[in-house]
């Protein structure tokens, strides 16, 4: 499920629960039947769970697109000034391993 799908799933299930609550309240009041209200509400909750909980295909229509990598693999650590400690450590580790490889 992508981000747009999460938004849609949450909005749909909340809307279904609220509509079921309002309809159930009105139905129960008109019928003067408390159990009828609870059944309408429970049915609405079940529908909301069915709609909002599983990862339906309609929630995957906006997949996250990552930007293409800026530089190629071989040129990493070459010229950029942004990366300080991390790349330095890696360099050191690499040099030690090459040193070990000599023996």
């Amino acid at each position: 499920m992508d981000f747009e799908g999460q938004k849609l799933a949450e909005a749909l299930s909340m809307a279904i629960v609220v509509v079921a609550a309002v309809l159930g309240f009105l139905y129960g009041y008109v019928r003067q039947d408390f159990a009828a209200m609870m059944w309408v509400f429970a049915s609405g909750t079940a529908v909301a769970a069915l709609v909002g909980v599983p990862d339906w295909p309609m929630y995957n229509k906006h997949p996250v697109r990552f930007l293409p990598p800026k530089a190629k693999e071989g040129q990493r650590g070459g010229g950029s000034s942004g990366k300080g400690g991390g790349s330095g450590k890696r360099k050191k580790a690499a040099s030690w391993s090459t040193l070990w490889g000599m023996f």
């Binding site: 799933a9 909340m14 629960v17 309240f25 019928r31 003067q32 408390f34 909750t45 769970a49 909980v53």
Partner: protein, 170 residues
């Protein structure tokens, strides 16, 4: 964001909505006003005795009640009491439950009891010897127990009854 996260968020949201719905249901109780027909009177006294240092009366009451209008969608059951009240020089208020009943549905909310005797033994007892000629009141009280919300208490008072003027050891 797995299906369990979504299920959890739906469950908590449902709980919140259900609480709001229950508040709305109790709000309808304030709009509704039942006007039940209730009468209760003293028919006769089957005995007024001095027993073990107390005065005891054996009264017969006539109860007619139609509590059907108390049954709305939020009513679970009613607790109905018939009380006998009197005051004596020593005790400012004596109240005794003569009879009580639990009404669970509308079908049983009509009560016609022309000869209602106290349900509990020695119900009408005075702490002393003051029952002869004593004026007393009868109250019919009922508690409405809702499905959601607070218990509400209602009471009707019927006044102007009197015990026999002298002991009657039948």
């Amino acid at each position: 964001m797995t299906h369990l996260h979504r299920l959890n968020s739906l469950a908590t949201f449902t709980g919140t909505v259900l609480a709001v719905v229950c508040l709305a249901v109790t709000a309808t109780d304030f709009v509704h006003s039942g006007e039940p027909l209730v009468t209760c009177e003293h028919v006769s006294t089957e005995g007024l005795q001095k027993e073990f240092g107390h005065d005891r009366a054996y009264v017969v009451l006539n109860l007619t009640a139609d509590l059907r209008s108390e049954f709305v969608w939020n009513t679970k059951q009613l607790f109905v009491f018939v009380n006998v009240l009197f005051e004596t020089p020593t005790n400012a208020a004596s109240e005794m439950v003569a009879w009580s009943s639990i009404v669970k549905d509308k079908e049983h909310a009509v009560m016609t009891l022309p000869a209602l005797r106290p349900q509990y033994p020695y119900a009408i007892t005075d702490q002393g010897f003051n029952l002869r000629g004593r004026h007393f009141n009868i109250t019919v009280a009922w508690n409405v127990m809702p499905k959601v919300g607070a218990l509400s208490k209602r009471v009707r008072t019927f006044a102007g009854f009197r015990m026999p003027a002298d002991y009657d050891n039948r």
